[in-house]
């Protein structure tokens, strides 16, 4: 660059309009709204990690207006205690989790492999959060119903989703919300501060189109990292090798504070619940889980759908002061069939557990139905993923 060019560039740099100064702070509400909107979207490479708080509603194509609302980063269902022992303080019987899981592995290995070309999974996710108020706070529930299709011959996969609205959780919450003036827009605690959400009634019209249809994704499955169908189908059926394979997705920094066992428990949940893996791999997953430390058994639980089952559970703290929660993998002991993954508040003394009664299910993922069929979906989405500029 010669001197003239430098002068020109210097002049131009100095001429940047003040309102375009990148050093200016972002207005707080814009910031939290944009962050909430972004993180409400499904991840491409990795599905959202399941922790006590998470962003629920994927919302392709929603404008910003609908978007803050879409940030139903929230958690669980009505606050009924899921275990049948009547103790609201979440009592987990420290029993022989290992024995239970090995028996489940036996069951799993006897199940048939996929019989149809298409693998269809229907799931229901529910989440609870609290309004960010000092006095008289109330909780809000949200969630989504999703159907994922996989063509097992080509590996193509997509899902459609319906939003389940965002409303006060129970009668007491409705009353508190009304006392607050029945606000349409509310502010909630979010991981990065506060976020604004728009309350919305669930739309029960079953004839409406889905709220979202995702484009096809080459790595639609999450096992601690995102993988393709091919990778999923070629997972090892030896528990030790499977564990090693899963741990490839473990990142000490990203797992922040989670032990490898805690991380493995969460990362492998979908292998038990709904992924189109071979019976051998599902059995290996149960066997792998049987070797993890700290797992307990809770007999006779009911999942968020009210279905009876048995849970293996693992308590963990969220970050430094997030609070004590319990992850639960619920399945049918007699068939090994996966039912749900839930995150339950154990102590209401942390940042993410405050305001919830111990025993409250803050997050839940219930597998409503899995079908292996030769009948494919009516149509496949054609939309392409938006691609970053650097790649075009």
């Amino acid at each position: 660059m010669n001197k003239m060019d430098r002068d020109v560039m210097g002049l131009l740099a100095a001429a940047q309009p003040t309102h375009l100064d990148p050093g200016l702070p972002v207005d707080e509400i814009t910031r939290s709204t944009e962050l909430a909107h972004a993180m409400a979207q499904p991840r491409r490479r990795e599905s959202l990690p399941r922790t006590a708080w998470r962003f629920a509603r994927p919302s392709w194509g929603l404008g910003l207006a609908g978007a803050a609302a879409a940030a139903a980063l929230v958690v669980a269902t009505t606050a009924t205690h899921p275990s049948g022992d009547g103790d609201p303080g979440v009592s987990a019987r420290a029993s022989d989790a290992s024995r239970l899981l090995l028996a489940a592995a036996e069951q799993a290995s006897q199940q048939p492999d996929l019989s149809g070309r298409y693998w269809k999974v229907e799931t229901l996710e529910r989440h609870l959060t609290t309004a960010a108020m000092e006095k008289d706070p109330y909780t809000i529930k949200g969630g989504s119903r999703k159907t994922q299709w996989t063509d097992t011959e080509t590996g193509r996969s997509f899902f459609t989703g319906y939003d389940l609205g965002l409303t006060p959780t129970g009668p007491a919450d409705v009353a508190a919300w009304k006392r607050a003036g029945s606000p349409k827009r509310i502010t909630i605690w979010a991981p990065f501060g506060k976020a604004n959400l728009r309350m919305r009634a669930p739309d029960h019209d079953t004839n409406r189109g889905p709220d979202i249809t995702t484009p096809e994704d080459d790595k639609p499955y999450y096992i601690g990292r995102a993988v393709s169908l091919e990778e999923l189908r070629s997972l090892p059926s030896d528990p030790q090798r499977l564990k090693a394979e899963l741990l490839k997705g473990y990142d000490r920094e990203a797992a922040q504070g989670q032990s490898k066992d805690e991380w493995l428990f969460s990362a492998s949940q979908r292998l038990i619940l709904d992924l189109p893996v071979t019976p051998e791999v599902r059995a290996a997953t149960f066997r792998m889980l049987s070797g993890l430390k700290g797992l307990t058994v809770i007999d006779h639980v009911k999942d968020a759908q009210g279905r009876p089952g048995t849970a293996v559970a693992l308590r963990r703290t969220i970050g430094k002061d997030g609070g004590l929660i319990e992850d639960r993998l619920i399945f049918d002991e007699s068939t090994s069939e996966g039912l749900a993954w839930e995150t339950v508040v154990v102590k209401a003394d942390g940042k993410w557990t405050k305001g919830f009664k111990p025993g409250t299910i803050r997050n839940s993922l219930a597998v409503v139905r899995t079908v292996s069929t030769d009948q494919g979906p009516e149509k496949w989405p054609t939309e392409e993923l938006p691609v970053g500029g650097a790649e075009r």
């Binding site: 560039m9 375009l20 910031r31 962050l35 972004a38 995102a226 922040q256 938006p386 075009r392």
Partner: protein, 182 residues
């Protein structure tokens, strides 16, 4: 996971205003907000893929979002309004320094879109030529050539290096060239 959100938030805090300023300079304030929001939606979905440094990647995404934005007409009007602001003629009673700034903005507003973009990316967002090339999706060499030409045209518009007349005497460049390729 909390830490994932924290890292994303840190990325947002570091880059959001850059992305917004870039979107404004390409499409004006009225459509910039929506584009920024959309850009960070994509950034979250592709979080694992974002290279270091992240800014060129983010600006590239913003550029695509703006290009794919459904309402081209709104974008043109929004940009025209923004450039009109830039092209306000310097007032006679302003200090020289302020007048120079106004003039530089005015000159920038008069350039074609490609020139303006190359200059904005380097002068305002501190990108090197190869990084600006990533945003635009061209080769580094092409970007260097574009930058060279853009600087030349900007200097012409500024009437440098001729002896600079008093700011007030300079005729503001009309905004008719907006949106045309230089």
């Amino acid at each position: 996971m909390a830490e994932e959100a924290e890292r994303f938030t840190a990325l947002y805090d570091a880059c959001r205003q850059h992305v917004w300023a870039y979107a404004v300079s390409r499409a004006g304030r009225q459509v910039a907000d929506e584009a920024v929001s959309e850009t960070f939606v994509i950034a979250w979905r592709r979080f694992a893929d974002i290279p270091e440094p992240p800014l060129p990647w983010l600006l590239g995404v913003a550029r695509n979002v703006l290009r794919d934005s459904a309402c081209a007409q709104a974008r043109r009007e929004s940009l025209a309004a923004e450039l009109q602001d830039w092209a306000e003629p310097p007032k006679p009673d302003l200090a020289d320094e302020v007048a120079d700034r106004n003039l530089a903005l005015c000159a920038l507003a008069s350039l074609g879109e490609d020139d303006r973009e190359a200059l904005v990316l380097t002068a305002w967002h501190g990108l090197r030529a190869h990084e600006a090339a990533k945003v635009v999706g061209c080769s580094a060499t092409t970007m260097r050539v574009r930058l060279h030409r853009a600087r030349k045209r900007l200097a012409q518009a500024l009437d440098i290096p001729r002896q600079v007349p008093p700011a007030a005497a300079r005729v503001p460049i009309a905004v008719t060239a907006i949106g045309e390729e230089a």
